[in-house]
Symmetry: C2
Subunit: 212 residues, 2 copies
DNA sequence: TTTACAATCCCCTATAAGGGGGGGATGGAC
DNA sequence: GTCCATCCCCCCCTTATAGGGGATTGTAAA
């Protein structure tokens, strides 16, 4: 039973080459190839492939935009992005939409085939440069607590604040008076350059300043 | 100029084998190997390696816990986790702390060497199973807005709320009355099962329900 | 057509939170 | 010793927010 593929790629030469190469293998069979994703939803539904190779920059409609539609109709389908773009916006939009892999065209086509193999085995192939960006998104800013000169006590208060707790509750949790807690928060807001608790929570969580 | 390595691994046989194998290569030189991370900070500072192979489960102290210390003293150092654990908690704690790669021991040792190569070239090696979990952490984000049955307008309001904006400001931004905005927020709070804006921000950002 | 609901606006009240003071105790740095 | 930072506590006052009520449109489904 060959793995059935559909390819969306607007470069005719590249697409046809992929079709020929993949069809010559024992493992893969290209059941459809298209230069755009304007009718991707129906095409995928009709052809019912196991895997999709998806370019991003195509005439008419962005490749990323069809991912949700496809994943919704058949969640177990594997979508491998195959593109020249390595800007974070496109990467994260693709991955969030549900892409299972992200391979850059600038790497050798060999890598694409290895990636397909990896997907077949249940992995998630990412080009090294992509993996690096993905990992970087996890790295929390090193010791931002120091950066803002927060005292240990202020950090304790802040940690509870970003859980959404009320001032009253935070005070109780730390066994200090309500007003003391407010005083700490006042100092925290000053140091973080924000004006209220909501801003503080937003800033801390968005920048991943504290995270344990 | 060989790439200088330090290895933290409590399994004597495994560690010594890695030392021998890596030292036999042209590219690597193991400048230190230790069965625990109790003095990792100083050891790394003294030996000043380019790369670190780091186990997680070691006697005395968790491997993950020394990552921040190491990264702080030398941010450009590459840390590759080499462990048997594939539970999400350890993975994400490692990556958040600053790990540059995460390789499972159950894969062949060959893979570790490939991973080191990849790091040398500026990549970020992840075992397929790990990469899949990392990608999965991006995927869930998509449908969460739907999960809570938020209307498009409510999502708009929520997006502004999680930036830390005041109700007044949000209302102005959306060209609606203050009370309308409050009404939306009331519905949002109900749907998210929270009692106030701070809780809502905390919940949304912590669960990555919305993020564009 | 009736029902349902999203989106809009308004009123009122109680509580939570922010902003401004001041003061006292500790412990380390100079 | 003095100085300073930290941490803790208390007061007052204003604003922001939450929670409750109700009402009107338009739209879309039943």
């Amino acid at each position: 039973m060959k793995t059935q593929l559909v390819i969306f790629e607007d470069n005719e030469n590249l697409r046809k080459s992929l079709v020929v190469l993949l069809n010559s293998s024992e493992e893969y069979q290209v059941v459809g190839d298209f230069p755009n994703v304007l009718k991707a939803g129906n095409q995928v539904k009709d052809l019912d492939p196991d895997m999709i190779i998806l370019d991003i920059d195509m005439p008419g409609k962005d490749g990323i935009s069809v991912i949700p539609e496809i994943k919704e109709s058949k969640p177990e389908i594997s979508i491998v992005m195959y593109t020249q773009f390595e800007d974070e916006d496109k990467i994260f939009r693709s991955l969030c939409a549900g892409a299972d892999g992200y391979i850059l065209k600038k790497t050798s086509p060999m890598v694409l085939f290895q990636a397909l193999e990896e997907v077949r085995k249940g992995g998630a192939p990412l080009s090294p440069a992509i993996a690096k960006k993905v990992l970087a998104s996890f790295h929390q800013k090193a010791n931002n607590a120091l950066k803002y000169n927060l005292t240990p006590r202020e950090i304790e208060v802040l940690k509870l604040l970003i859980k959404g707790y009320s001032i009253k509750y935070i005070a109780a949790e730390l066994f200090i008076a309500y007003d003391t807690c407010k005083a700490h928060l006042k100092n925290i807001y000053t140091k973080l350059h924000v004006n209220c608790g909501k801003e503080a929570i937003a800033k801390v969580l968005a920048e991943r300043i504290i995270f344990d």
